[in-house]
């Protein structure tokens, strides 16, 4: 089978890879590109552990074919922190103990960031609906919601201070 040559931008850097027609973006991120932050929980769009941002919109990378990434821009969990400086959402997940096994965490953080990037002041209900496509088997969700609400408040403060 002939492989497809894809050039795409991942977290701001141009990346190239070869993939098969049936391979998913998640397969390539974790395999060819060695970026194992995005997780495969279900492979069927149900759990959100593989959430990435594709051209500004969050999607399940397990349901995107790798070939579709040609010329697009992909943001993953690996691009959320700045070097060793955690993003406020990541910091708040730690402070609120919003993770136990951590498998769902990359997906929650990418999805929460996608919400706060467009809506800095969401209600708790908005946060819960926005994150309905992310499953967590450990925490019971409450700590995750609190961490996101708290991160939103901190980001608003940073903005007014700046």
């Amino acid at each position: 089978m002939s492989k497809i040559h894809v050039t795409t931008t991942v977290n701001g850097d141009e990346r190239e890879f070869l993939c098969t027609p049936g391979q998913t973006l998640l397969d390539v991120l974790r395999g060819e590109l060695g970026m194992t932050g995005s997780k495969e929980g279900c492979g069927s769009g149900d759990c959100g552990a593989c959430t990435v941002v594709l051209d500004g919109e969050m999607v399940c990378s397990c349901l995107v074919l790798a070939g579709e990434a040609q010329g697009r821009s992909v943001s993953t969990i690996e691009g959320v922190a700045e070097g060793s400086q955690l993003h406020p959402i990541q910091q708040k997940f730690l402070e609120h103990a919003a993770l136990q096994c951590g498998f769902c965490t990359p997906g929650f953080i990418v999805a929460a960031k996608s919400l706060l990037d467009r809506n800095p002041d969401p209600t708790e209900t908005e946060v819960r609906y926005w994150l309905a496509g992310n499953l967590c088997r450990c925490t019971g969700y409450d700590k995750i919601i609190k961490a996101v609400m708290d991160a939103a408040a901190e980001l608003r403060q940073e903005r007014t201070a700046a």
């Binding site: 089978m1 049936g22 769009g45 959100g48 349901l63 579709e68």
Partner: protein, 289 residues
């Protein structure tokens, strides 16, 4: 067998040629059904023809009083079009009940329709709205009503090499509006046990001048229940007319028994949801008259 080719044509003509030249080729829109089916082995297309690079299929256009929605427009983009959301709130809400935000950023109404699940959420709303499809293929272009596309669970009436290029919605009738509701055990991320759509128009005296009622997950395909609409036209939507409409809906049901609900439950709920969507559509229509 995994697919052996991935194509991303940039024109409708190229897509028609790719699909008609290879019987094993399948169109790909958002992939939220197709990629899942390929991975589980339920679908095994030889080639994948991605429709998302065709610029014309990514736009929402005004078409006269109505709208033309390209087959590659994701559900979340429907909400961002204020004119569309005001004209057909039921259609836009139905499409935005599908899955999660991640799923709706990819899923299309054309994919929802062509996947041909009897429980597809946007389809009853489109049928009630009187939507049509522009189907393109090797022998040219044709316009068919949305309810003619599904032929049974997972099967469509599309011929080899054909695909849906756009979905067209008419301008809403004067004094008209629409609504869609589904019954699910939770509020998000579930498949409709049963669903109902309605599009209603009222004159200045509150007499119903037009009504289309449709039901989902209540038969092998989404159904337009013509008798239910007829029961309402010419009435002031009094209790007797509503009862007759509900009776017509129940009579049209031919559902399955499964883990989501029994046939009896689905039939009873179809009538109740139909009543509720008629009420919501009327409230909305009142504001439009």
């Amino acid at each position: 067998m995994p697919p052996t080719a991935y194509h991303a044509p940039e024109t409708i003509e190229q897509a028609v040629n790719l699909l008609s030249g290879d019987a094993s080729a399948r169109p790909l829109a958002g992939g939220t059904d197709l990629v899942v089916q390929i991975r589980s082995g339920r679908a095994a297309p030889g080639a994948i023809v991605d429709l998302k690079r065709i610029a014309k299929l990514r736009e929402i256009r005004r078409e006269g009083e109505g709208f033309a929605i390209g087959a590659a427009v994701p559900c979340t983009a429907l909400k961002d079009n204020a004119a569309l959301a005001a004209a057909w709130p039921g259609v836009v809400e139905a499409a935005n009940l599908i899955g999660s935000v991640q799923v709706r950023n990819r899923a299309t109404m054309a994919g929802n329709l062509c996947n041909a699940s009897p429980a597809a959420d946007s389809v009853p709303a489109l049928v009630a709205a009187g939507a049509t499809c522009i189907v393109v293929g090797p022998s040219g272009e044709r316009e068919v009503s949305v309810e003619q596309i599904p032929a049974g669970p997972g099967a469509t009436s599309l011929k080899s090499g054909e695909f849906v290029a756009e979905i067209r919605l008419p301008g809403p009738a004067k004094g008209g509006s629409d609504a869609y509701l589904r019954s699910i055990p939770r509020t998000e991320m579930d498949i409709a046990v049963v669903g109902a759509g309605a599009s209603i128009a009222l004159d200045g005296n509150g007499t119903c001048t037009a009504a289309r009622i449709s039901i989902g997950a209540a038969a092998p395909t989404v159904l337009l229940v013509e008798d239910a609409g007829k029961a309402l036209v010419g009435t002031k939507l009094d209790d007797a007319a509503i009862d007759k409409m509900m009776e017509a809906v129940r009579a049209a049901c031919n559902p399955i028994d499964d883990k989501r609900g029994t046939a009896e439950y689905r039939t009873a709920m179809a009538g109740i949801l139909a009543k509720r969507v008629v009420q919501i559509a009327c409230e909305r229509a009142g504001g439009n008259s």
